[in-house]
């Protein structure tokens, strides 16, 4: 007679907030909320723009409000965290890059990609500053 009676331990329902890697993962995913909020702000601006000058003036007044400035600071922090984690994940999503017969270390790919990203955001700001002058 077999004594087998495999016991399956249930997953804790709050595993996604367990300290350590799972919580870091959930925080990374929640940066998506910040990106949606930013998209919603732009969409609201676009709708007010289509509705006419007075409506758009209201949108610009909102952007100047302390609430909006604080909100955008929080969004900026979240998106910077998104940039960091996005490029930490990037090397996982592609085949190994072989240079001189050796795979390029993931940390190096992350470093270069993050530098390129910083360059892109900076170039965008400089472009706008140049155009707006």
């Amino acid at each position: 007679m077999s004594e087998r009676r495999p016991y399956r331990r249930p997953m804790p329902s709050n595993w996604w907030w367990a300290p350590g890697p799972y919580r870091a993962y959930t925080i990374r995913e929640l940066t998506g909320v910040a990106i949606v909020i930013y998209g919603a702000v732009l969409l609201a601006g676009l709708i007010s723009l289509a509705s006419g000058p007075s409506s758009y003036a209201g949108f610009l007044a909102f952007l100047k409000s302390p609430f909006s400035l604080l909100l955008h600071l929080v969004l900026l922090a979240a998106v910077v965290y998104h940039v960091k984690t996005w490029f930490e994940t990037l090397p996982k999503t592609q085949p190994k890059i072989i240079v001189d017969g050796k795979p390029v270390p993931a940390e190096q790919i992350t470093k270069y990609a993050t530098m390129v990203a910083a360059g892109c955001s900076l170039a965008l700001i400089l472009l706008v500053m140049g155009v707006a002058r």
Binding site: G39, A40, L42, L63, S68, A132
Partner: protein, 127 residues
Amino acid sequence: MSQAVQIKRVPEARSKSPLFWLPFGAGGMLFALFGPGLILITGLMAPTGIGIPESFMSYAHARAFAENPLGKLILLAVIALAFWHGAERIFLTLKDMKAGTIPPLKMGTYGVAAAATVLTLIVLLVI
């Protein structure tokens, strides 16, 4: 020789996840490359006039940008991909949290992203 071991391999039905994963990835990359710059420009620098004059986002300027075909394309890409990127992440997190059954979670995330995309398209077409 013993008989060759027969392993039953039945390929699973193809997942539709790539449909959502692709715009998630495109949005993630767009915001990884330009997100900090975009938020700084439209949310902090232009409204306060630091580095960028307030007139940059004036009605006339914004209108000209939204009426330009390239401007329309940029607005559509940024707004729609922001929603699709967030939808994927928020859906998966709510699923991890077991915040509800799958169909309403999908409606509240991918559904919202689809609605936002359609709304953006309509506004860009009438403007």
